[in-house]
Amino acid sequence: MAETLVLLKHRDVPGIENIDIYEQHGGYAGLKKALAMERDAVINEIKTSGLRGRGGAGFPAWIKWSGIPKDTKKPHYVLCNADEGEPGTFKDRELMLKLPHMVIEGMIIAAYATQSAKGYIYIRGEFVESARSIRRAIDQAYKKGYLGKSICGKEGFDFDLYIHMGAGSYECGEESALMSSLMGERGQPRLKFPHAPLPIHEGVWQSPTLINNVETYAAASQILAHGGAWYATMGTENSKGTKIISVSGHVKKPGNYEVELGYPVLDMIELAGGVTGGKLKAVIPGGSSVPIIPAELCKDFKLDYDAHQVVQYSMRTMRLPVVGSGGFMVFNDKTDIVVLMRRTAEFYTHESCGKCTPCREGTRWIFKILSRITTGGGLPGDIDLLVNICDQIDGRSYCGLGDAAAWPIMGAIKHFRHEFEYWIEHKRSPVGEDCLPPAPEPLNPLLTLTPV
């Protein structure tokens, strides 16, 4: 099966990041169509399309859009989450770099549909190159009258778009933490619905706020240009449309591939040129937060929001996602899964914001135990201890970072328990010496990463 190019259709056109070339290739047609429609009709198009949030959670976009209050007693805000941080994902980086106008167009449509006068793109601090592209695009859009006062001659529709740069925090990709960060605070999450109002009622600066991923806004511009019904013809019953999958790891041609949702995992590897350096061992299909899939089970999985894996804690069963944010990482048979999980655990230990105890302490414990196992000090009860700690973290914090730290470990224990047992029994790697070189000797006794 080939790619289905909707968002990335024109990515190789030279100069597509400039407004003139973008307009020649059908750019801003979606906005013009939207402005000729009633606000509710725009939201209806999104509803017809079945678009679901592309940041990882897959929440239906139209529910957020239609939930913004119809009155404007308080100002409304449109936020774009461009704090792409999930290991393995690099779709937003490319979208912003090559097709900045598509993202901006989607945001202007969202602003029209939700009666917002101000919008912010929260871009992670490292993405200077992509942010420059967005900066140029915003300046061009102001000159052409797509931003500012009375957009496209539509009286009473004013929209200003600002860039807000992050400063290095994975946690800020979580929507409530992102809003805290935008308001000049530490990027820590807040209480969620039903214990606190939804962002659509009280988000940033206590005002109704619409927050979506970069890819969601880009898709919205195409949905308005070509119609929601057209978009809904692609994908599966519950996961309509296309998704950009970022393929990396042991493959011949790593990169971004846009496919219809419901695309088989094995075909995805073929599309990226097949496995290099050995046979396929495992795939992490949706960014580091989703559980790993071993090679022999890959044929059973498709990339859509219905696909899931089940893990078992002592008292409860969890259904874990497969597609996530679309960070598709392929590993060959020279990869040591236990060492890989130690690295995953190190990531979450470093990025846990420290607000909730289960996540702050639990991620550290997982990392310490996995470090102990992978340096030859594993104890017989360590696997059960890991499962127990994951059980204590999962679902017991304000945001999903703790859950996301527990899931990959649970997935790895489910499918590769024998490798953990081998490490504990033989004190060496089951795949031999060339699995992964040892991590640098830590300056900080807990983390190998640079202390601030």
Binding site: Y142, R343, A439
Partner: protein
Amino acid sequence: MSEQAGYVPVVGAVAEPQPAPEKSYRFSEQAIQELEEILTHYPDKKSAILPALWIAQREYDGYLPPQAIQEVADRLERPFVEVEGVATFYTMYNLRKRGRHHLEVCTCLTCAVMGAYEVVHHLEKRLGVKVGQTTSDGEFTLSEVECLNYCGAATVVQVGDKYFGNITKENVDELIETLRNSNEFTPADLANAIVRLHIPERTAKK
């Protein structure tokens, strides 16, 4: 109010109170204008703490000493501790001086399996420092960072505002030589680039 009965302070457990940092402002005329422009983007002054810290990081040679945090706090009329809390939370705000080039090697999942640790070990030997340290001539600081989200080109190294992809232990020496011969000061360049991104063209002044 009478003294609290039964309250015995724990001697030695509380940090010595630090004297307030000296007030000597270093924001240039251009920096003040940029801050004024940025303040128009938000409904309150607190929201400008992040961009203001980026300005301070540029004005204070690529890192944030306590004076820089004090200056941001005063200019935004916020308490020192609030700004300090923000500055210490985010990893891209440097609380200590960095080398002229800050090498940030991504060692997250994809990069780790594609040889990032080999690159780190090679750099440690080549530069004679450990991860987290700066060379004695102040040229390079070596760091390990979490995912830079350019996994398609693993291993990735970030230096200032630039990404370098497909780095291996073979071609990293070339990168080191190129950087050694350039006359940029990349930590401040990165802060400058980020500040400029906030400023719309229509209000930007050369």
